[in-house]
């Protein structure tokens, strides 16, 4: 958005000029500098405390709203106000550290470090006669409480979901995997927004080279702001022009935990409840966490059903068009006569009819997401009446077409991964055009091209169709069918001495 704007250039210029300004000796001067740099923001609060007849003075600075006023008052200001120093100025800093009841205290020496600490919500104590500053972690941003997931719901299984607060999110996963091997590496991305990004993986299960690759790609991101995980996703995914999801996103902590146990890497991004998971394989997109929470037979059945739903969402309109415009011989006679009767009064060619319906549905769907909640019922009435009844009665489209489009729509909603539905939506139109041109022959040719494209995809070194292509017999237990849990879950005791790493990169 702002990536190449002048603002960014100015900032980087300014930074390079004065990237390491040492702090001044007096608190008052330092405060003045901070105020200058922050443009004397209205929410910047500073407080001077003087002791022993002005012998020692401190300045406490923080930004209101992103730091906890209560903690500052109780654990910083109160000890400081009642503090009686007996030592000289040289070890005052040590003494303050002993006085203040804040767990995370850091010592900073440059103005820039102090500034970034202040804008991230920390409280800074500047001491008279000292060129160092104490940075106290008092970050507290008002955030949503943990609620039920809204986009990835299950019948049986944990009901919590991620929030916009990155610390809450990592805590939700840490609570599930209480292992010393769970690693969390943090970094900041976004030159302006300075968004916290944290990588989580389990040492010993995750493949080190993939972890390294993820870190490298994250480091290489050059962007001014990260407002949602998709910003990061765009930078780190392997193929930027594929319609297939190359990074999985989820708002469920149990999904992240499960993926970590499978050797994948989670990327937490501040300010969004969606956590990214890499590397991605195609088969993984058909798995719902509930597969594992229910009986294995229903789990396997549902997984096959989802695969069917995906194929339906992809192919239903294309195959229908191909059948009725090119291969009438393939339709059972009674059905063909019935469809022919419906098409009698339709003035448009079948392909135009298909486009009218598909587009109407897409518009309805988009409107359903964007409209104000209050007009929802009005939209659904109009949508149902127009799409279902009136369009057929008016002779715009045939009833068979309405069925095909509805089946397609329902099938695309049955997918556990919203991204996959988007893939099906894009490719569906391509197949539709090809089908009207070249019939099933064209559909087959397009499918081959799509298949070839999928075979060529890699996600962080892992083939996209793994473990189907390249075929790994031992890994088939969690692909089309979900075998019983003891078969698919990693059992470290049995794997002793063997390599425990789950995700293998291409050999």
């Amino acid at each position: 958005m702002l990536k190449n704007s002048r603002l960014r250039q100015e900032i980087s210029k300014e930074e390079s000029e004065s990237s390491r300004t040492p702090l001044e000796n007096t608190a008052r001067l330092n405060v003045q500098q901070v105020k200058e740099k922050l443009g004397s923001s209205g929410d910047l609060i500073n407080r001077f405390i003087q002791h022993n007849e002005n012998k020692y003075a401190f300045a406490v600075i923080h930004i209101d709203g992103i730091s906890s006023t209560k903690i500052i008052q109780e654990h910083i200001l109160e000890p400081l106000l009642t503090y009686k120093s007996v030592l000289d100025a040289g070890s005052l800093q040590d003494e303050l550290e002993q006085t203040i009841a804040i767990s995370n205290i850091k010592v900073k020496k440059t103005l820039e470090e102090v500034l970034s600490a202040i804008v991230s919500g920390s409280t800074v104590i500047l001491i008279d006669g000292d060129t160092t500053a104490l940075v106290l972690d008092t970050k507290e941003i008002e955030s949503r409480s943990i609620t039920e997931p809204t986009t990835q719901t299950v019948i049986r299984g944990p009901k919590d979901s991620f929030t916009e607060n990155i610390r809450t999110n990592t805590a939700l996963v840490r609570g599930r995997i209480q292992s010393p091997n769970l690693r969390l590496d943090s970094m900041k991305i976004g030159e302006v927004t300075q968004t916290s990004v944290e990588i989580m993986y389990i040492k010993g299960i995750a493949n080190d080279s993939i972890v390294k690759e993820v870190k490298q790609r994250l480091k290489n991101i050059e962007i001014d702001g990260v407002l949602e995980s998709s910003y990061v996703e765009n930078f780190i995914k392997d193929d930027k022009h594929t319609p297939f999801p190359m990074v999985q996103n989820t708002e469920r902590p149990d999904v992240v935990a499960g993926n970590l146990l499978e050797g994948r890497i989670a990327i937490f991004i501040g300010g969004t409840p969606y956590v990214l998971v890499v590397p991605v394989t195609f088969t993984q997109l058909f798995q719902s966490s509930e597969d594992y929470y229910q009986n294995q037979y229903i789990g396997s059945f549902l997984r096959l059903l989802r695969l069917g739903a995906f194929l339906l969402a992809l192919y239903a309109p294309a195959v229908y068009i191909a059948m009725i415009t090119h291969h009438q011989a393939l339709v059972p006679t009674v059905l063909l006569v019935s469809i022919a009767a419906q098409r009698e009064a339709i003035p448009f060619p079948a392909i135009i009819e298909a486009f009218i319906m598909e587009m109407t549905f897409e518009v309805l769907r988009e409107a359903g997401i964007r409209m104000p909640r209050a007009v929802g019922s009005a939209l659904s009435i109009v949508g149902a009446l127009i799409l279902g009844q009136a369009a057929v009665d008016a002779g715009f489209v045939s009833a068979a077409m309405v069925i095909i489009v509805s089946v397609t729509a329902i099938a695309s909603f049955a997918l556990p991964n919203y991204n996959l539905g988007i893939t099906a939506r894009i490719l569906r139109f391509l197949l539709l055009v090809v089908a009207s041109y070249a019939g099933l022959y064209g559909v087959l040719a397009a499918s081959l091209i799509i298949g070839m494209h999928m075979c060529g995809l890699n996600s962080f070194g892992v083939p996209y169709l793994y473990p189907v292509a390249p075929f790994r017999l031992k890994e088939q237990k969690d692909v089309l069918f979900r075998f019983s849990i003891e078969n698919i879950v990693n059992q470290p005791s049995k794997a002793k001495g063997k390599k425990n790493i789950r995700m293998r990169i291409k050999e």
Binding site: H326, A329, V337, A340, R343
Partner: protein
Amino acid sequence: MRAKLLLVTICLIVILSGCSNYKELNELAIVLGVGIDYIPDKNIYEVTYQVVKPSENAAKGTGSDSTPVINYEATGKTLNEAAGNSANFFSRQNIYSHIQLVIIGERLAKKESLNFIFDIFERDAGVRVNVPVLIARGTGVKTTMDMLSTVDKIPVQALSGKVKNASETLGEHGQTKIYEVIEDLTSEGSEPAISGVSVIGSKKVGARKENLETMEKTFTKLNGVSIFREGKLVGWMDGKKTKSLQIIDNKLKNTNLRFHCDEKRYNDLTINQLKNDTKVDIQNNQAIITVNTKAYGYIVELLCNKDISKRQIIKEYEEKAEKELKKEITDGILAAQKLKSDVFGFGEILHATQPKKWKESRRQWDHFFSQAKVNVKVNVSIEETGMRIKPYPY
């Protein structure tokens, strides 16, 4: 550059190729039945097309309550010419992939021959050859196809349903499909046998909407099996002996067998499993045909009041049933022998089992067949007697 070239190529392919095979459904006439007849004086074929009217057959009626199909005739020196000429009669292009039945006129079958009629069906990839064939017996082809029916609204669909039903439950009429006719015509050791269809009732009423509203309907009825020799119809086989065709072909699924239990009355069996083994040999310049049939069935109706809990009664019934079934088979073979037409495919059996002897006799196989000695062995076993065992007390 490469991307641009690819884009241009794709555009060219899309624009220049066009939709060669693209046919809108509402520009097509779906042909469900084809009738073929021959006018010897003019030496032309007369082809009847039965085209469905979609709106009359839709689940939700939008039609104007007229006939569900349209039959129209076109003529030509070849069948394809006739098909081309049909464009003069009809506003939409015919598609033949949904043909359900082919009806051959008796004139064509007798005066011309079937030899080359089915070539177009086999040659054209868009037509199915697993479609049953019938011979219009005593009535014109178009008239037969005109007879409206009620439950299966489309006349040819009703007819093909009748063939299927009769072959599965009665066994007197087989579903002779186009490819089977072609096989029989092209092979030396067998001849086709095709069921016939006649019209029962007033032909004028049958062709009108009236026929659907009255209870005195005009029906089409399967009537006998036509016997061919060298592609020409030479005679008809009627009645129960037509079962022999299905029995020897091992195609019989279900049939009923009535036999005398005393002088006046009959019992009835349902045969639900039947195995036949045929052997053909030539000895002393005479063909010997041995038919060995094993049939399993159950009693469905007893009109003689006998105690069937006794083993000997069952045994007696079995023997009588064997006699009856043997008669049906022998009669069938005799009828075919009289017409010198090997509709059973005994020649094929000889060809497969004793190729040397076949080679010597194939030239005069018709003669060998008509003079053949026929041994029929039948074994019927009654496996069930139904829900009642005790005889009635009166």
